[in-house]
């Protein structure tokens, strides 16, 4: 096994090196040939992702657990990389989605002539490599360096479309938010490393009684990247602004590095106080419910999807919170189910959210708009994209037989285990059950709207009626992800075993199957029997329908509109109208800005209704906070002279002060 582990580790290291080399190579090649730049950048990313995926899957199946260290000339820094089940598990969606997004990007950027594509591939391949490095790092300084590289690379990808002024603003919000999170993380690592005198993850030791404080610090720092409510404010700005392949990678895997951080912190700390579990449960429920509510009120397809990322991160947090509750109350079955469900949802969310962002990107690519109210009739014009988006929609709503159902099912089962028990754990179970049920209903409403208005009915604008199906390089990634949604939904019973070592790391159990009662629940074979029955029944019904209709007159006509024979596209229900009953019910939370012109008189000639729902956390919490900060800090503006010799003076002054401080002893 150790030898095998070294080979897999080498494969991973090779993938990282190839990503870095191909990114730089693509930028250089772009000076001479656009096609050459794409070939080097995308080819390097593709090969590296296949290699990385193979290494991650192999490491997870073989239960590899090893660490490799190289000295690094950096105070406290060391090039210490590790590959254990937890890292391997997070690397799987990372390389899977990044590889597919690279393929998708080839088609997506084809119309962008005359601009060096190497700029994109440099940052894209850098982003993928730094994300993998974050997951593999075993040293605090190295982790922060990789974390920062990831942030910078994704920032440049967000603002990549320089023709869109909004993306610059979105990138700015992202940069500020994510650096505030990083500041907290620096505090976390300094605190963790103080006792041990080293930044090696293995030597970290939480000072007695401080585990709770450290966890909260990590939760806030990592939660900013993950998009936990109310630290999510950058997410609905940055994800829509980025090019679609980047949105898919950011939403599907980059925000998961925040969750990885939280889970890794749990492993490092070992035990955290019970109230931490309740905190995670509460934040998870808030993120889940508020995320989907805000998604429901959006008209921008990609912004809607971005809010669904907040929702799904909330679902994952509910699973992790249940797992922590199980560890705290000594219920191994609950712990195993909660962690297994939460982590499986990490993988599943990467798959269906990547698919949905690819679909949204294809629609934007074909029509030039992301405004749902301008779209319609996409299914007829883009049948592949439409079918893939439908599968992704059903999967994200947690509907059987797709993958989202499996992970939500595990979290539900954890909640039931808690409810059947006694004491405070039952309260946690009821919280999760209610939150998940509410989220499920709202998500179904939201995706009935998103899919129904964009892909069904008649086109609502000239751009939508001129839409054409996208090319193969964009279709293939969608088809692969849609296939995975179904495959995981039907075959999870067999695949869940591979997750045992990951769950064991978090629960402290030898293996989740060894937990009393957990093994039986993790793989209810009859569930897959019923799912097979569902699909078999559907197939049978389709054949029966065809047989019954064969040989009979099958006619086509207009849609029934009370006998009105000239239905127009503008008569269709709008997305705003579709969601209005629910957004109205949640008006107190959403606080939409409504502009309406009610019909007047006996023969009203016109009427209008428009509702816009900006983020409440941003409007009510962060905007006032930053305005106040800007006002206070504005008094220091005299320091900014704009003359270089003043800045040189500042540098010298600070250096002299530091020298004095260092020599004080």
């Amino acid at each position: 096994m150790p030898l095998e582990g070294i080979y897999l580790f080498g494969l991973l290291a090779g993938a990282l090196a190839l990503l870095a080399a191909s990114g730089v190579g693509s930028l250089l090649a772009g000076r001479w040939s656009e096609r050459g730049a794409v070939a080097i950048g995308a080819g390097g990313a593709g090969v590296a992702c296949v290699a990385g995926l193979a290494a991650a899957v192999g490491a997870l199946l073989r239960r590899v657990d090893l660490t490799v260290a190289r000295p690094w000339r950096m105070p406290y820094g060391e090039f210490r990389l590790g590959l254990d089940p937890l890292s391997a598990f997070f690397l799987i969606p990372l390389f899977l989605l990044s590889g597919l997004a690279a393929l998708y990007a080839i088609g997506y950027f084809r119309p962008w002539k005359g601009r060096n594509p190497g700029r994109f591939w440099l940052f894209y391949n850098g982003l993928v490599a730094s994300m993998a490095l974050v997951v593999a790092a075993r040293n605090g300084v190295l982790f922060l360096a990789a974390w920062e590289t990831m942030t910078i690379a994704s920032f440049f990808l967000v603002i990549f479309d320089e023709t869109d002024s909004r993306s610059a603003h979105a990138g700015w919000i992202y940069l500020v938010a994510t650096h505030l999170g990083t500041a907290l993380l620096i505090g976390l690592f300094v605190w963790l490393g103080r006792g041990a005198g080293s930044q090696d993850f293995g030597t970290y030791a939480a000072p007695a009684g401080m585990a709770g404080g450290l966890f909260v610090l990590g939760l806030a720092g990592f939660g900013t990247k993950a998009g936990l409510y109310p630290l999510h404010v950058w997410l609905p700005e940055a994800h829509p602004a980025a090019p679609s392949p980047v949105s898919a990678v950011m939403s599907g895997v980059m925000i998961k590095t925040g969750l990885y951080g939280i889970v890794r912190l749990l492993v490092i700390l070992g035990t955290v106080p019970g109230w931490c579990a309740w905190l995670v449960l509460g934040i998870g429920a808030a993120s889940g419910i508020l995320g989907v509510l805000f998604a429901l009120a959006q008209h921008d397809l990609k912004r809607l999807l971005a809010y669904h990322s907040v929702e799904n991160i909330g679902i994952i947090a509910l699973g992790i919170g249940l797992g922590m509750l199980g560890v705290h109350t000594g219920m191994p079955a609950l712990a195993a189910l909660g962690f297994a469900g939460g982590l499986l949802h990490v993988l599943n969310h990467a798959i269906f959210k990547g698919l949905l962002f690819f679909g949204a990107g294809a629609v934007a690519h074909a029509t030039g708009t992301r405004d749902i109210e301008q779209l319609g009739g996409g299914m007829k014009r883009m049948p592949w994209t439409g079918a893939a988006f439908l599968i992704g929609s059903a999967a994200i709503c947690g509907l059987p037989p797709f993958n989202g159902f499996i992970s939500e099912f595990l979290i539900y089962m954890g909640a039931f285990k808690a409810i059947l028990g006694s004491g405070p754990a039952a309260l946690g179970g009821v919280t999760v059950l209610t939150a998940l049920a509410l989220i499920g209903g709202l998500a179904a409403a939201c995706f009935a709207k998103a899919f129904g208005i964009v892909f069904l009915g008649e086109p609502r604008s000239a751009a939508a009626s001129a839409a054409r199906e996208v090319g193969a390089s964009m279709r293939v990634p969608m088809a692969v992800l849609a296939g995975l949604c179904l495959a995981i939904g039907l075959l999870a019973g067999a695949g869940l075993r591979a997750m045992d070592p990951v769950v064991a790391m978090l629960t402290g159990l030898p293996s989740s199957v060894a937990a009393p009662g957990a093994g039986r629940v993790l793989m209810p074979a009859a569930l897959f029997g019923v799912l097979a029955l569902l699909l078999g029944g559907l197939l049978l019904l389709a054949v029966l329908r065809r047989r019954l209709l064969a040989g009979r007159a099958n006619r086509e006509t207009v849609t029934w509109d009370c006998g009105y024979a000239a239905p127009a596209a503008s008569m269709q229900y709008t997305a705003t109208g579709f969601a209005q009953p629910l957004t109205q019910a949640a008006e107190g939370i959403l606080r939409p800005r409504v502009e309406s012109q009610l019909p007047q008189g006996v023969y009203p000639a016109s009427g209008a209704y428009h509702a816009d729902t900006p983020d409440v956390a941003r409007r009510m919490l962060f905007d006032p906070l930053f305005r106040a900060a800007a006002k206070r800090l504005g008094r220091l503006r005299w320091l900014q002279q704009g003359r270089v010799h003043w800045y040189v003076f500042y540098l010298v002054a600070v250096l002299v002060l530091l020298l004095g401080w260092a020599l004080r002893a």
């Binding site: 409810i419 059947l420 009935a448 069904l456 006619r555 006509t557 207009v558 229900y573 209005q580």
Partner: protein, 300 residues
């Protein structure tokens, strides 16, 4: 898994078309009319399955998939739904989550099929349907959680077997009331929706299937009848029927309870009016509160 467990799905498929007719006959009795003949449900299906199709030019395969997916979901639901404390064919821990989500899948595809027509009426119905589901789904799951806690099991079959053997009366009453409201709402009956209305603007479920015809409409009608049956079985299991000897007599008693529920529905439809659409969420939240009270009872 015994042979007796397969009787329920067959029984449901065969007898479900009786339920809408039974409700109509009760309503006719109240109105002083004679109502449709007992076999009307079967006659309608026979007629619809032999007709040629007609569909809107706007529609795609999503429109045609809607009724089939919904029907397949109900077929799959029958695999986990026990009747009269006789185990279902494929019970497993957590099967009630699958039941709730199968109903959700059927609803999702019914709604998308409606939106596929591009009709504003159908869009309106679809919007209302998803809105009510948001309130109904948590109520259903909380009620089932109460039953799970009461019987300390995680699968519908042992839950209802345990409930037939014993269980507290207050819990049965609270959940009986809660599930009855959910049954009326999910099956689009008065006071939430009126299956007999003739005005598109006021419809919910009926308007979503306006453009469907022939085989598709047949599957929709059979599917609605099956949904009455499945959710009826959920309610019927709350009655203390476990004392009866032998699975056959218990199955018969369960089927009888479903018929009684249909008669109750007919009575409710005859003596009450629809509530305003804006008040429907309140009604459903009320059902949720009843279920939550039931759950609270089990914590004593």
């Amino acid at each position: 898994m015994s042979a007796a467990s397969w009787i329920h799905p067959v029984l449901a498929l065969a007898l479900a078309p009786l339920l809408p007719v039974l409700i109509q006959r009760v309503k006719a009795l109240f109105a002083g009319r004679c109502g449709p003949p007992w076999g009307q449900g079967y006659i309608d299906l026979w007629k619809l399955f032999r007709k040629g199709g007609i569909a809107s030019r706007t529609t795609t395969w999503v429109f045609r998939a809607g009724p089939l997916v919904n029907f397949a979901c109900l077929l799959a639901a029958l695999a986990v739904m026990p009747l009269g404390a006789v185990s279902a064919p494929l019970p497993f821990d957590g099967d009630w989550v699958l039941l709730a989500y199968l109903l959700g899948l059927g609803r999702f595809f019914t709604v998308t099929a409606a939106l596929d027509t591009g009709s504003s009426f159908e869009g309106m119905g679809a919007s209302r349907e998803v809105q009510f589901a948001v309130f109904a789904e948590p109520a259903l799951l909380i009620g089932l959680a109460a039953l799970a806690r009461e019987t300390q099991s995680l699968s519908l079959s042992p839950i209802y077997a345990g409930l037939a053997a014993g269980g507290e009366l207050p819990l049965r009453i609270l959940l009986g009331a809660g599930f009855f409201v959910l049954y009326l709402a999910e099956n689009c009956r008065i006071p939430v929706d009126d299956p007999a209305t003739h005005l598109e603007l006021t419809m919910i479920h009926e308007v979503m299937v306006l453009d469907h015809g022939a085989v598709d409409l047949g599957f929709i009608q059979w599917g609605s009848a099956l949904k009455l049956w499945v959710l009826g079985a959920l309610w019927a299991g709350l009655l203390p029927l476990g004392a009866l000897p032998g699975p056959l007599s218990r199955l018969a008693a369960g089927a009888g309870a479903i018929l009684v529920l249909a008669i109750l529905t007919g009575i409710v439809e005859s003596v009450t009016a629809r509530v305003r659409l804006l008040r429907v969420p309140q009604l459903l939240v009320g059902a949720g509160v009843l279920c939550a009270l039931g759950l609270l009872l089990t914590f004593r």
